[in-house]
Amino acid sequence: MKEIEELDLPGDIYYTKDHEWARKEGETVKIGISDYAQDQMGDIVFVELPETGSVFMKGEEFGTLESVKAVSEVYAPLSGEVIAVNSELENSPELLNEEPYSNWIIEMRPSDENQYDELLNRDDYLEMIRG
């Protein structure tokens, strides 16, 4: 497993306490899991995605990731509607381990832009991991 110094944590995205990331792309947002999350989970072997059009509240579970160690839920960083899912992950779940930031899980249209303010930036997230 990686030391904290070895983690890749880009500065241009938002993070959550549950180790998801959110990247604002105009009016929509792409969501994935952080390098720390994929490293802690180990080899991911199965990804369960929501259906396009589903609506989730901030903090609500939108899918599950199964690794060789455990099954983990992924939670919506913001409230909104799912407008796309990365179905490539269904056949190649390892992409989340290999490139956690270019391989997003879902794309949402947030219903409340103010919720971005409640997310963590890189430094806050790093501090949280350091505990």
Partner: protein, 485 residues
């Protein structure tokens, strides 16, 4: 290298049965044909399945060799946490093989199977008195089915009361079967976080418990091996809101004869006979997961149950409130016989002592390994202890690597990566049936493995190296499973 029981002996290869044999071989003699041959009606005949022709010795060697690749409690220490892999005394097998018991047909008239009915009746009674509960069904075939049976009873009870409750509280240390059983009965699970000390606080339950919540599913001791000491306060809160309390009996081996679950406020619980009551476990199953309830829930129990009828015994088909059958006839009967044999041969005092020794053994391992591995919780633990691989991170050695290396030394690894609340968890449950010498050997080997983590980490990452097959690619097995022979 310090020597555990494991060595590298000669292991005999063995192909699949379908790759063995020769046309014409046979393991029995056909009786001579004494009726005229007749043509099979058209439409009944079809292609025959492919079965290999094998001699008796082919078959005997095949299964003997496969058994030699296996590892079981009869081969060595099997400290799989939360599984209670205790030794299964051979007297249980002898009793289950008694002809009057093993050949009793489940549809015999009551008058012709009084002994069997007496055994079922008394086992219900024993399990009620061991748990402190009022009534028992022996039908469920496994722990998870016991959980589901109890959840069906909770649902039936609320329906009878005319209440709508669609949620249930489940702590984050619970077995995954708990939320699954609840979901099958229409309850959505509300997760409860355990506190920093590894147990539930009454306040966290009070915060979530309301009139639309069916109750709580609680394992005590919990899967961290810690006693839920706030159980009385927690069950009071649940009852005040009209809810019911389910006790998961997975860890009963820590508290036989020590804890009265009814007085703790538990309304229904299951027992794993294949854990606590020494019946075969895992691949050697089948299991049994009897459900014990308080009097209020008795009308909802599955039927039939064994009852006293006059001077003898009979079956009761209960009230119309019963949830019905959850298994054909009486459950996995031959498993019930083994548990009965265990309880009868131990007696109340020794059952209690078994639990005390199970706790003592686990605490001994915990204290001897506490400087070697990172202890997850400082709180006094019961029949199992949970460590993590935190201290080994700096050498890039994980829980998985250490577990695999234990195999090289001839030990079955403990439970790893569970419970989920401890990252890199190593959960050790030695059970009461291991003697101090064997525990000492395990501890010495584990300490040696940790020294090796620092000096030769690669050796651990390659482990196991002395087994018939080397480390399996678990990731590939999960991503690209090959499910045919």
């Amino acid at each position: 290298m310090i020597q555990g029981p494991g060595t590298s002996g000669l292991i005999l290869n063995e192909p699949l049965l379908w790759e063995k044999g020769k046309k014409g071989r046979s393991a029995f003699s056909m009786v001579e044909q004494d009726v005229p041959e007749a043509e099979l009606a058209a439409g009944l005949a079809g292609g025959a399945p492919f079965f290999p022709d094998l001699g008796e010795l082919d078959v005997v060697r095949h299964y003997t060799r496969l058994s030699q690749w296996n590892f079981g409690i009869d081969s060595g220490l099997y400290p799989l946490g939360s599984c209670t892999m205790k030794y299964n005394p051979k007297i249980n097998e002898k009793m289950a093989a008694t002809p009057g018991i093993s050949s009793a047909h489940p549809m015999l008239e009551e008058s012709l199977c009084q002994g069997v009915l007496q055994l079922l009746f008394e086992l219900q009674d024993f399990l009620a008195s061991i748990t402190g509960m009022d009534a028992v069904s022996l039908q469920p075939a496994a722990g998870a089915q016991g959980e589901m049976t109890a959840m069906l009873m909770f649902a039936a009870c609320f329906k009878k009361r005319g209440e709508r409750r669609d949620k249930i509280l489940i702590p984050d240390t619970a077995h995954g079967t708990n939320p699954a059983s609840a979901a099958l009965c229409g309850f959505s699970s509300v997760p409860l976080m355990s506190g920093a000390d590894g147990v539930l606080s009454a306040a966290s339950v009070a915060e979530k418990m309301d009139e639309s919540t069916a109750g709580i599913m609680l394992t005590n001791p919990n899967t961290l091996g810690l006693f839920e000491e706030n159980i009385r306060a927690i069950t009071d809160i649940v009852h005040q809101k009209g809810g019911l309390v389910y006790g998961d009996g997975a860890n009963m081996n820590a508290v036989m004869g020590m804890v009265d679950f009814k007085r703790c406020g538990v309304d229904a619980m299951h027992l794993n006979l294949h854990k606590t009551f020494s019946t075969p476990h895992g691949g050697g199953g089948p299991g049994a997961g009897p459900v014990c309830v308080v009097a209020e829930l008795e009308p909802f129990l599955p039927v039939p149950r064994a009852v006293k009828k006059g001077q003898g015994y009979g079956l009761s088909f209960g009230s119309t409130d019963s949830i019905g059958r959850v298994h054909a006839f009486f459950g996995n009967f031959s498993v019930l016989v083994r548990a009965y044999s265990y309880i009868m041969s131990m007696g109340p005092a020794n059952l209690k002592k078994a639990s005390q020794l199970a706790v003592l053994n686990a605490v001994y391992v915990r204290e001897r390994l506490r400087d070697t591995l990172a202890l997850a919780y400082e709180k006094p633990s019961m029949h199992e202890c949970v460590f993590s691989d935190k201290k080994q991170h700096k050498w890039k050695v994980t829980t998985l690597d250490m577990a695999k290396r234990l195999i090289d030394h001839g030990f079955h690894p403990p439970t790893i990566y569970f419970p989920l609340v401890v990252p890199g968890a190593i959960m050790i449950e030695p059970t009461e049936t291991e003697c101090k010498d064997d525990l000492d050997q395990f501890v010495v080997v584990f300490k040696d493995i940790v020294r090796e983590a620092e000096s030769d980490g690669e050796r651990l990452r390659q482990a196991p190296t002395r087994t018939k097959v080397r480390r399996l690619d678990e990731t590939r097995a999960a991503r690209k499973p090959c499910l045919t022979g």
